[in-house]
């Protein structure tokens, strides 16, 4: 039997109907979590309890009181929010600025959200309680430092500390939850309490874990009771049987271990909801589902309890459910995290813990689903290695060549080598999955704040060329370095740049550490800790370093723009002598108004064209960034700070606030995304881009990389196109590439979609490491996508 997908097959009717419901639903704000959380924390008797217990009790209360519903046709049940598609507000994290933005939600241009007047009023009522209790404010004690940090973050010109919105970014140990259930965890913890002599911190943590384990068990049972009640009132016998089956499953899981494939999917979905309500609702990732679900699938097949089609239908229901959650961000945060996407990664394929290929029948079912559903969430990743099955590769490249734009591809050899070098055991590295956008972590074992912060690198060069001041600013915001006229050699330019980098990255790390401690102190995460290996053993919360692996990722935004700018300085000032340093900076301050200067600079060679003399500057920037980061030592959870080369949509925002660069880019223009060449500057196509990018030593890029390769649909047509794409991907990976995602874009289609959002409501594009609907992008991002695709054709 071959499952090669020659063309889009129609979706099964049930899945098609569910998808239509979800995609047609209005994206809304749900107030329940914010209100219940506030009510819990307001109660006097709760204020004295240890923070970790408060978190567990508050979350358990949310799970017990939040409204629940089972929608028609569902097989997997559970609700992220009270709305069909909704997002929660986290007043204790980034929620206060979000709520201050409330009145604008309905009418804002990007990602409008439905919220009623009554809901707004109830949310406004909780603001006073959190006004001085939210995370960013708690990072510092002194009032001045508080004001400085919060004001800084509201502008976020140099960096944004995402971690003040919570940490998350985990791939929980769902395998264990499915196997032993919440009840199993309670038993394990009780045993641990008896047999070891836990200190006070551990005792509090264990108490909290047991509370929340009971909480998620009860949460499942609520659905069991609801399904049973609905079954009693259902006249249609087929529908009644469906509801009875739901009731049966929800009575078993997540309290107990899963007995069936369906139990397994249902159990993990309840945990998925609970984790998204515990801390930041971002990048809670089921991870390697085809691996840990497979034993249940096989056993059910053997026992005759399930067919392949039935398993596929269950997974389709699950997959659609994953799109019922959206993040509620303020307009400010939308600049950085565009696209209404919670970063829930599901990974398929790759080697198992022993190094053998792990592709199985569920892998193929997932591939069919991602091609047929083409929904925003989950964010599907596919792992490949040199011995990945031919059929697996053919199906994936076939889908991509036809424009599915999903899955994103990850190279086992490169990622496993990077992870073992960074301290992962070989088995744990083999068991990696992406979280969020592109960040590799070990399933069930890492508590890595992979999106801890995003850093604007080109701004450091701007200050380096201007004595530590930004163009047009009177005050010095960077390190004191010499004025432009004093930069007589390339070495002195590099010296000034590195000084600015050290200063601003130092500021970032100082703030980040304060936020790490605030998370540990004010927002421990007992449920996450229970589902991440190491925390129970250590008796320490994940926020306090209880997990096995504890990295923090800092994203290096716009390395290519910075590298190209440095190359341009070298070429124009020190090699050709076309301008003096002072003269060049004067042109930059005038925003390159003189066309001759701008075009000359713009037409200089750029990163991504396989020219060593240019590419080495981008490598230099990445290397300096990584070394500087490393010089700051460990985070407060005991893990290292690692470099990420992806930018989500921050390259657009940082570009908007950064002055002209010697690369010929004018003030306000977007930077390149991830590790891609500057927009429109790759003249020789994707192989040359790969040759340039392959020069990077990816074993030093501990937090993942995003390379977006774009194609016009024409070039990948037919089997020759598919085969060429496969050759491109495999060669890039064989030479050390880490990640790649393939966008097939049709510029006419995109322009039409921009002009009339109703035309292609489901048009999906990949923006820096994840899929998003085109309509959810900011106008500037839409234009950027169109500009890039025009260039391709």
């Amino acid at each position: 039997m071959s499952y090669y997908i020659d063309e889009m097959r129609p979706l099964p009717a049930r899945a098609a109907a569910l998808r239509e419901e979800v995609q047609g639903a209005v994206q809304s704000v749900c107030t329940e979590r914010a209100i219940i959380w506030t009510q819990y924390h307001r109660r006097r008797e709760n204020r004295k309890k240890p923070a970790v217990v408060r978190m567990a009790e508050a979350l358990a209360e949310v799970l017990a009181r939040k409204s629940i519903a089972i929608y028609p046709g569902e097989l997997i049940v559970g609700n992220f929010s009270s709305k069909r598609v909704g997002g929660s507000i986290f007043p204790e994290l980034h929620g206060v600025p979000v709520m201050l933005d409330l009145l604008r939600f309905r009418n804002r241009e990007t990602n409008p959200l439905a919220v009623t007047g009554k809901e707004i009023r109830s949310l406004l009522a909780v603001i006073p309680f959190w006004m001085f209790r939210f995370m960013a404010l708690r990072a510092y004690r002194s009032p001045l430092a508080r004001i400085r940090f919060v004001a800084d973050q509201l502008k976020a010109h140099f960096y944004l500390i995402n971690e003040s919105g919570g940490i998350s970014h985990i791939a929980p140990d769902y395998e264990k939850l499915i196997r032993i259930g919440a009840g199993g965890f309670i038993a394990e913890i009780e045993e641990r309490e008896r047999d070891s002599a836990p200190d006070e911190v551990a005792r509090d943590l264990y108490r909290a874990m047991k509370i929340i384990a009971e909480g998620i068990a009860r949460f499942g049972e609520r659905y069991g009771e609801l399904a049973a009640a609905m079954a009693g009132e259902e006249a249609d016998p087929a529908k009644r049987r469906e509801l009875e089956a739901i009731a049966e499953s929800c009575r078993r899981v997540p309290r107990g271990g899963a007995e069936t494939f369906r139990d397994a999917v249902q159990s993990l979905f309840f945990a998925q909801i609970a984790l998204n309500l515990e801390s930041l609702d971002n990048s809670v990732c089921p991870g390697r589902m085809d691996q840990y679900l497979y034993p249940y699938y096989r056993r059910d097949l053997e026992r005759g309890l399930i067919t392949r089609d039935e398993a596929k239908e269950l997974l389709a229901c699950f997959s659609i459910k994953m799109s019922e959650i959206i993040p509620v961000f303020s307009s400010h945060l939308t600049n950085f995290h565009g696209g209404m996407f919670n970063g829930q990664v599901v990974t398929v394929g790759g080697v198992d813990r022993n190094g053998s290929d792990g592709v199985n029948e569920l892998t193929y079912i997932f591939l069919e689903l991602m091609d047929q559903l083409r929904m925003r969430q989950p964010n599907y990743h596919a792992r490949v290695h040199a011995a990945s099955p031919r059929q697996y590769m053919d199906i994936i490249t076939g889908m991509l060549a036809r424009g599915s734009n999903t899955p994103a591809l990850y190279c086992d050899e490169s990622i496993i080598a990077m992870m073992t070098k960074n301290g992962y055991s070989l088995e744990d590295a083999r068991d990696y999955t992406g979280v969020g956008c592109v960040e590799p972590v070990s399933q069930g074992k890492s508590f890595s704040s992979t999106d801890a912060a995003i850093f604007n690198v080109p701004l450091c060069l701007e200050m380096a060329l201007n004595g530590g001041r930004r163009f047009g600013h009177l005050f010095r915001s960077g390190a004191r370095t010499g004025p432009a006229g004093s930069l007589m050699t390339m070495d002195s330019v590099k010296g000034a740049f590195e000084a600015q980098l050290r200063r601003k990255m130092g500021d970032l790390i100082r703030d980040l550490r304060a936020v790490e401690l605030a998370n540990r102190r004010y927002h421990p995460t007992p449920l996450t800790s229970m589902l991440i290996d190491g925390c129970i053993d250590a008796g320490r919360c994940s926020t306090a370093g209880g997990a096995r692996y504890n990295f923090s990722g800092v994203q290096c935004v716009a390395p290519a723009d910075t590298g190209d700018a440095l190359f341009a300085v070298e070429r124009a000032v020190f090699q050709e002598g076309r301008y003096t340093m002072k003269g060049l900076v004067a042109h930059l301050k005038r925003n390159l108004r003189d066309q001759r200067v701008r075009l000359y600079l713009r037409n200089l060679e750029k990163f991504g064209n396989d020219r060593e003399e240019t590419d080495r500057w981008t490598l230099y920037v990445i290397d300096r960034f990584g070394e500087t980061l490393r010089s700051f030592g460990k985070n407060t959870r005991g893990g290292g700070y690692v470099t990420g080369l992806y930018s989500v949509t921050a390259h657009e925002y940082f570009g908007r606030i950064t002055g002209a660069l010697p690369s010929g880019r004018r003030r306000g223009e977007p930077f390149a995304s991830g590790i891609a060449p500057e927009s429109g500057m790759d003249r020789f196509g994707p192989t040359a881009v790969c040759n340039s990018v392959n020069r990077i030593d990816f074993t030093k890029i501990g937090n993942g990389v995003n390379l977006n390769a774009k194609f016009d649909p024409h070039s990948l047509r037919g089997d020759e196109g598919r085969a060429a794409l496969q050759g491109l991907i495999q060669t890039y990976f064989r030479r050390g590439g880490m990640q790649m995602q393939i966008n097939v874009l049709d510029p006419e289609m995109l322009a039409a979609a921009r002009d009339d959002p109703a035309l292609y409501p489901n048009l999906m594009v990949r923006v820096s490491g994840y899929s998003s609907y085109f309509n959810d992008l900011t106008p500037a991002m839409k234009d950027e996508i169109i500009r890039r695709s025009l260039y391709q054709c």
């Binding site: 066309q595 001759r596 200067v597 037409n603 192989t687 040359a688 060669t731």
Partner: protein, 307 residues
Amino acid sequence: MEPKAAPSLQERGIVFDVQQFSLHDGPGIRTTIFFKGCPLRCRWCQNPESHRYSMELSYSRDRCIRCNECVRVCPAGAVRDDECRFDMSRCTLCGSCAEACPARAVRVVGMEYSPEALMAEAGRDRDFFSGSGGGVTLSGGEPMGQHRFLAAFCPMLKAQGIHILLETCGHFEWSAMEGLLPFLDLVYFDLKHADDGAHRKWTGVGNGLILENLGRLSASGVPVQPRMPVIPGVNDGGENIAATAALLRGYGQGVIHLLPYHNLGEGKRRQLDSPSEYIALEPMQEGAMERVKNLFVEEGLDVVLYR
């Protein structure tokens, strides 16, 4: 056979483009090298910059920002003021103007390469060739116009195990081909018209030598793939198709590749000092190609349509 053609360092190739990631010039991921100069003047030609064997100047009025840098730097005084008019009789092709032009509106078309230098360019994507079953495509212009350079260049490609495909119009002296045969993995051979008179009318040369070469190549053991650019009103009539098919059958060729006419070279033509006669046509409709395809199929040939 282990041919040891000594690469002559004096031999230079003139190339007007090296295009990486070509997916439509043979199997796999390829790098296509466009050699300058062509013995034919097909009146529908979309690569007008390929005609001359020598380097030439190209000027884009659209890109020009009228900064007059070219006027300032030209040592021969060949660029006149205000409108950037080039006096080609004075131009020595020194390239100063192109170097000075910030907008890249003035360019020198064609670049001289030693075999070693071209090898460095062609070898950039070597890993992708082996990973996709691709290689290097020699195109143009007419690559056989620089056969002495190819005699030095092809052994270097082969020494690195690179698959070589030659695209040719077929108009060359057979003696030039003989030494290259051991290095060629595949030849794409263009047929423009089966009738000698019509061929002369539309391309400037007759097809006698071309057909003779097709016959010899077909018998040489190197795989040959005949191709035909379909030009509306020129060679898409039933009579020509029947005659072309008969010729191909005679050479034992059972498959033809059909390339639709397009007019994407229009813009380039205006940037050159190009005297050649030219017919401008509307781009092909998909249905029109289907019709030509069916005629060939009726003649018993297998057809591959390009898009």
